[in-house]
Amino acid sequence: MRLSGRRSMTVRLTMLFALSSTVVLLLLGNLIAGSLERHFEEQDMEVLTGKLKLAQHALERVRSTVDLGVLPQHLDDSLVGHHGLELVVVAPEGQILFATSGAEFPQSLLESHVRVDSARPIVWTTKGNHPLRGISALARTGIKDAQPVVVAVATDISHHEHFMSSFRITLWSFVALAALLTGFLGWLAVRRGLAPLQAIRHEAAGITAHRLDSRLSADAVPVELAELVEALNEMLARLEDSFRRLSDFSSDIAHELRTPVTNLLTQTQVTLSKARASDEYCDVLASNAEELERLSRMIADMLFLARSDNDLVIPDREPLDLIDEVKGLFEFYEALAEEKSIVLTCSGSGVVSGDRLMLRRAISNLLSNALRHTPVGGRIAVHVDDTGDSVVKLSMENPGDSIAREHLPRLFDRFYRVDSSRQRLSEGAGLGLAITRSILRAHGGEAVIRSERGTTVCELNVPV
């Protein structure tokens, strides 16, 4: 099995499965972490805004600069019981009016333009490595005409941070674990899901040249595979048909060769069995030569058919008027036709693009065939018709015994003869019509034959 360039379907499906479930879990994890963090922030904000209000309240009660002296006392009281809470009050001039011990606030929070309603908590870390979250607001004192002061309050959030980081570790390890697990489960599922493919493979492995009649069972497979199985079965049917034709062909060849070879052998051996006059030898050799010539023609014809079966017959196309070719062939067959008092006529016209030699041969085979089957005094009429549908139709009509319907489709098969007892000599090798059809097919055309009420019509449809 080749590994490079091809990936197993199981691996691919497993990967896709694991990947998609990991993506879903990651999104979910992020969502949970995000909402947890928002929850903590809201909690902190509740505490911070409460304290800010207390501080503002305390500041409102400051009526004079004297009251400022007791302000720290008030503020300290309001902070009682709140561990990790820092507060700072800054006067407009930048003077710090109050600060819890060790309070560190970023400067941005203490700027006087901060507004209460737009207050968003910001997070920072102190020098002592404590994460803080804080807000600030303006507060008016009770002193008349005094500028508002800035109050900033912050709370230590290290316990939240600890919780979040351990939560994240748990979350991501769970996601990783789940990805592995779904990957594994996916792998199992894919293997199970692909089991019908394995079954088909097993079935297909059992089909050999000797068992070409067996088919894959289409009922047992899932709907998705039914079409594939049907296509495979159709392919098998085509193969079976070709295979059968091929073996028929081989046995036909053997049969066709056996008779002349037996004749040759017998005749030669009988001649050799005793001394004869040289005239007799001449006769035997001449008759052998005739027989051998027929054999070699048959071999050449079979080679042509074999090549055309493999699409190796490629027409050398040129524009041809079929009627000209028919007239040329009439000249050739003229003498033979006159011997039998057969009249040859042609009419119509039609130009095609085709291989001159091949098309001549195709028509010649038809004509030779028609001459053989037309009774003395008959008439063979060829008509060429440009149908205008990018097909030129050549039809050859001759009188003669009607051919039974069941024979018609097989007439163009090689070695096929209507009457199996018919004399070999009068009939040729039975390859003429097969060659005609091969030539037509090589041109993308078709040959058809019909026969009724004592008239046989052969039609060649040649694409323009």
């Binding site: 006769d283 008759s287 030569a289 070699s296 050739f332 003229e334 001549r360 010649s364």
Partner: protein
């Protein structure tokens, strides 16, 4: 006229040699490509009959070797495969003609004679004659002992072919291809009928009989004095 035959198949080689010897040619037979090339380069031949499939170097290589050495005698190659590629390749390499196996010996002989005639004198005479038969090419007229004989165009062409190649046995396939342009296996009954009709016109009632059937091979036009 000396011919070199390069053919490894024992029987084919022997028969080719015998047949060509009896046809009046001098023949050397080489059994493989190396010998064949050696013969072709050391001796003077008027024609080479070359099989393509040979032990040692193949027919193509022999052909190339011959052409490379500057020798331009005609080469007729024998191919076992009826492949267009083979033909094209052979003709490109400088072969003059080809025959596909199995072939009729009469066909080979006819081709050999054509090739040998090629390049020879091609003086076109106006009359072709055999015994008391005369063919006037210019006026398309045939007469025997001065008596006019009417022939159809194809009959004239057939007689002209037989006359031009007097004494040669012409196979039916060659006649079909030369006279009717039927360059494929066709109904050879037609040739028989055509020759019979020609004979009826120009041999019946005249002496000597000129056209003779050679069974199993073809037809020959001969003014044989002894008959």
């Amino acid at each position: 006229m000396k011919i070199l035959v390069v053919e490894d198949e024992l029987k084919t080689g022997n028969f080719l040699k015998q047949g060509l010897l009896e046809a009046g040619f001098g023949v050397d037979l080489a059994r493989d490509g190396d010998d064949g090339l050696h013969y072709a380069l050391t001796d003077a031949y008027d024609l080479v009959v070359l099989d393509v499939m040979l032990p040692g170097i193949d027919g193509w290589a022999v052909l190339q070797g011959i052409r490379k050495s500057g020798k331009d005698m005609p080469v007729l190659f024998l191919s076992a495969r009826d492949q267009v590629d083979d033909r094209v390749r052979g003709l490109e390499l400088g072969a003059d003609d080809y025959l596909v196996k199995p072939f009729a010996f009469s066909e080979l002989l006819a081709r050999v004679r054509t090739l040998l005639r090629r390049g020879g004198k091609t003086t076109e005479s106006e009359f072709l004659r055999a015994a008391n038969l005369e063919l006037d090419l210019m006026r398309r007229r045939v007469s025997r002992s001065g008596k006019r004989i009417d022939l159809t165009a194809k009959e004239f062409a057939l007689l002209e072919l037989l006359l031009r190649r007097q004494g040669e046995v012409l196979p039916r396939s060659l006649i079909a291809s030369q006279v009717w342009d039927m360059n494929f296996d066709s109904d050879t009954n037609v040739i028989e009928v055509a020759v019979r009709r020609l004979r009826a016109k120009m041999d019946d009632g005249f002496e000597p009989k000129l056209i003779r059937t050679v069974r199993g091979m073809g037809y020959v036009l001969e003014a044989s004095e002894c008959d």
